[in-house]
């Protein structure tokens, strides 16, 4: 018989390394045509940090993201930004880029204030122009400002560094303290079908909500949620490195099973935005939280479907089958 069930699971996840300085730095240079180069050594492996950092720089400088070029991959060109780990690049490097961009923007605002005859604090940079907040028609293009500054011998650049506000190590005896400057939160609901004859599980759907503070790039965040959930499904049901007497016996993809397109269910992602004041524009990191609650949601859904709690991962058909047998034995 096939039985369906639903399970829910929640998680929270600290941004950045635990109770330890993990700084990032960035250099921002605005060229005389109003385009910008951002140098920040945050490794982008496809998760999208280059794109998010470009957006943060562009938004701060008031120019289109297409006018920002990112250099992150060369230690002689891009300054240290720490490891791409701990869901930290948007939060930590995002702040470094924001601070560097703000520094560069100061040059632009001051020059515009002089040109327009207003105070720099009353001006805003957005969509390629600097304008008076109260009267947006009083404006000047950023390209023009950059040209003027260059002619005066002023080069527009900024440098920023940031480390999360985790001032000291956790107490070694009590473990108490401030491990992280900010947390991301996530809830997932899995719907499964369990074959009571074989113990086989099919994940029918996965709904995943995540509080990202502020979504810098919603499509990229969905990609992180979907990919993270897929790894969570693999962790829950099939992935295992089998070690016998210290030797890995399944080192090839023929026996080290990974989820294929047929194993991963449709994933509905829900982006929740509760702004984090210490994050750039309220943003927090995204990469890891989606992987954390998936197995728990699936395990709880299996319990809901057939009334057995499997306490060891991966939850194979065999484990469910044996647990169902045992339960049946007790009931009879």
């Amino acid at each position: 018989m096939k039985k369906r069930g639903r399970g829910i699971a929640c998680t929270y996840f600290g941004m950045g390394n635990t109770a330890k300085a993990n700084p990032s730095s960035a250099f921002v240079e605005v060229c005389e045509d109003g385009t910008a180069i951002v140098r920040c050594g945050a490794s982008d492996l496809g998760q999208g940090s280059d794109t998010a950092l470009r957006q943060i720089a562009a938004h701060t400088l008031g120019i289109d993201a297409e006018r920002v070029t990112m250099v992150s991959n060369d230690t002689m060109v891009a300054p240290e930004a720490g490891v791409t780990s701990a869901s930290r690049q948007t939060y930590v490097s995002g702040n470094a880029v924001r601070i560097a961009s703000e520094q560069a923007r100061e040059f632009l605002l001051k020059e515009a204030a002089e040109g327009l005859g207003y105070d720099a604090v009353d001006l805003e940079a957005r969509d390629g122009v600097i304008f008076l907040k109260e009267r947006p028609d009083a404006k000047i293009t950023i390209e023009e400002i950059c040209g003027r500054l260059r002619a005066k011998g002023v080069l527009v650049a900024g440098a920023g560094t940031f480390t999360p506000p985790t001032p000291e190590a956790l107490d070694p005896e009590t473990g108490l303290g401030i491990p992280y400057g900010a947390y991301s939160y996530a809830t997932q609901i899995a719907e499964v079908e369990v074959d009571t004859e074989t113990g086989e599980v099919t994940v029918l759907s996965l709904t995943a909500a995540q509080d990202v503070g502020r979504a810098i790039n919603p499509m990229a965040i969905e990609g992180q949620i979907e990919g993270g959930v897929a790894q969570g499904v693999g962790y829950a049901l099939m992935e295992e490195v089998v070690v016998e007497d210290g030797v890995i016996v399944n080192p090839s993809f023929s026996n080290l099973l990974l989820p294929t397109a047929l194993d991963v269910p449709p994933i509905q992602s829900i982006i929740v935005e509760v702004p984090e004041p210490t994050g750039p524009f309220g943003a927090k990191g995204t990469g890891e939280p989606p992987t954390c609650p998936t197995a728990a949601a699936i395990i709880n859904a299996i319990y809901d479907a057939v009334g057995v709690l499997i306490t060891s991962t991966p939850v194979t058909a065999e484990k469910i089958y044996m647990a169902l047998k045992k339960k049946q034995g007790k009931e009879e």
Binding site: D64, P172, E173, D211, V229, E273
Partner: protein, 588 residues
């Protein structure tokens, strides 16, 4: 086997190349024709990264003899569209829908889907998923890939594109910009480390321990140096600087000195003119071992009489959390639930195996590689070569996934050492098996949980013990363990918390960073128990969570008071609105 000339029709152009009978089509494409869009992820026809079309059907070129392709039509990603301005609809939709992340599997995915769309103009979702089920992707979860293929099918049928996302009126924040690097990835132009060559480049390989625990009695490398094409056979004594690395504790040697602690530990490195000569050199090194007692189970390893993996003892790290008074918390509980859980060892399985290409450039060591941590690599390689940090340059090329597994050093130090000694560029690319044997893993945990709660479902006490199998070296282990401890009870407030977490050295593969970093092991424990508390108290899974959840002003496991940015309840409410209310489980 004698070389022979064959005529290969690739992307409509006939090329004459000289191959042997066992030359694989993938090597003919990559090495003879310079078409590096097809990737080697496993070398066994199991991951699909090497997919090309032969007479319109997808084929794994890494197990397909080149001579068999003669007289047939071969199409690679470069033949689909290598001009970024004139993309095939599949390429364009992969970019626009965000279906590209690391991009290593992308050419294979696009070719498999092209074969589908060429024979089925209107595939349903199951047909799409089936067509790409031989292409492993570790980044995307396939959702956006399936969406992109569906959109490309629509575009090919001449249908108008579906509506775009709503974008903010101004500014760059909140825009779903496509990734700038995805254009290179859909056209096969993105340069991954193995796609790169340098003139007079050597290849490297590492001799690894077959024993989990042994003393190295002797290493005889004389025989290995007999062939002139074998340019270097190096052991620990050839390292000019530090032979110790590790992102938290520098406890791991690049090349073993007197003993080995896990199967796969590096002992010697060979640099040679061809990959075949590298293997010949490795085969000729004679190592004599004396087996030592090994320990694989962390509970066994914690016993006083267990074989010592390291001199300082096997408990590498003990993280404690003591919040409130656990005894009082348990005494106050109406319900006490106790359960034991265990989790498995997990491989990251990024589809691009580890790779590095090193060369000396005017006194500076330059290393091209895949990486999540170029500045960490820079510092470690500088220490290994006894160079100033500023004389090492790491250039991260396109990196085919990482998920934590490309933080710790892998191929880079060996390529750098060989290049430093030989003065030549040296490339070292792992096989899939070498990657699995030697890379750090998600730690296997044993976990004991005891939660107390009142009759109205509120937590009063949480007692957690974690034992982590750390393997032979620390890598990121102590930090993973600390995060496990801080995340041990989930996003809930509990006044009395007692956690003991142990990271234990064993002769097991090395545990390290992996996406989630010790939290995925915890959540099945705290979430199963929270559900059970709900059942015992007659509360829905939603309500029992709502009662305990962290909110502004809450105190966390480490007694940090959360002031702002706490969206836990919002994620709970939004998911349950979407996926719980509609299921007939109305009571939330």
């Amino acid at each position: 086997m004698s070389p022979r000339k064959i005529r290969l029709n690739v992307n409509g152009i006939v090329n004459e190349i000289t191959v042997s009978e066992d030359t694989l089509l993938l090597d003919a494409l990559r090495e003879h024709l310079g078409l590096t869009g097809a990737k080697r992820g496993c070398g066994k026809g199991e991951c699909g990264a090497c997919t090309v079309l032969i007479d319109d059907s997808p084929v794994m070129s890494c197990i397909y003899p080149a001579i068999k392709a003669e007289g047939r039509s071969v199409v690679t990603i470069e033949g689909i569209g290598d001009d970024e301005k004139v993309l095939h609809p599949l390429q364009r939709q992969f970019v626009e829908k965000g279906a590209v992340q690391c991009g290593f599997c992308t050419p294979g995915l696009i070719l498999s889907s092209k074969a589908l769309l060429d024979r089925n103009a209107r595939p349903n979702e199951l047909e799409i998923r089936t067509a790409i089920s031989g292409n492993l992707c570790r980044c995307t979860g396939y959702t956006k890939v399936v969406e992109a293929i569906g959109a490309a099918a629509g575009e090919l049928r001449g249908e108008a594109a579906s509506s775009k996302r709503r974008e903010p009126a101004s500014g760059a924040i909140g825009r779903s910009l496509t990734r700038i690097d995805s254009l290179g990835k859909v056209t096969g132009k993105a340069v991954f480390t193995d796609d790169m060559t340098l003139p007079r480049m050597l290849f490297a390989g590492v001799l690894r321990s077959p024993h989990p625990s042994a003393r190295i009695v002797s290493i005889d490398r004389a025989a290995a140096l007999s062939h002139p094409g074998i340019r270097a056979v190096l052991t620990a004594e050839d390292i000019p600087g530090s032979n110790r690395f590790g992102i938290i504790v520098k406890d791991q040697p690049y090349l073993a000195v007197d003993r080995v602690r896990f199967v796969g530990e590096a002992i010697a490195v060979v640099a040679a003119e061809t990959k075949e000569l590298v293997q010949e050199g490795l085969d000729k090194i004679r190592v004599s071992y004396e087996a030592l007692p090994a320990v694989f189970d962390p509970w066994e390893a914690m016993k006083a009489d267990a074989p010592k993996v390291h001199e300082g003892g096997n408990i590498q790290h003990h993280r404690k959390i003591r919040k409130g008074n656990i005894e009082e918390g348990l005494a106050r509980a109406d319900i006490v639930i106790e359960k034991t859980f265990s989790s498995q060892t997990v491989e990251h399985a990024y589809i691009e195996p580890e790779a590095a290409l090193a060369h000396m450039d005017q006194g500076q060591m330059v290393v091209y590689c895949c990486s999540q941590a170029p500045h960490y690599y820079r510092n470690e390689i500088a220490a290994m070569l006894a160079f100033p940090i500023s004389k090492v340059r790491i250039i991260r090329l396109a990196t085919g996934g990482g998920f934590g597994g490309k933080i710790e050093l892998s191929a880079q130090p060996y390529a750098a050492l060989c290049s430093y000694i030989t003065g030549k560029p040296v490339k070292y690319v792992f096989t899939r098996e070498e990657s699995v044997f030697t890379s750090t893993k998600r730690h296997a945990f044993d976990m004991h949980y005891k939660f107390g709660a009142t009759n109205d479902g509120r937590l009063t006490a949480a007692h957690v013990t974690i034992v982590s199998n750390g393997g032979a070296y620390a890598s990121y282990g102590p930090a993973v363990l600390t995060r496990s401890a801080t995340m041990a009870i989930g996003p809930y407030e509990c006044p009395n918390v007692h956690v003991d977490a142990y990271e234990v050295y064993t002769n097991y593969p090395i545990g390290g960073a992996m996406r989630g970093f010790g939290a995925p092991q915890m959540s099945p424990c705290h979430e199963a128990i929270i559900d059970e508390i709900g059942r015992r108290c007659g509360l829905s899974p939603i309500e029992v969570r709502r009662r305990n959840m962290l909110r502004p002003g809450s105190s966390t496991t480490t007694d940090q008071i959360l002031e702002h940015g706490v969206g836990a309840l919002e994620t709970l409410e939004r998911t349950s609105e979407r996926a719980w209310r509609s299921s007939g489980k109305e009571e939330i």
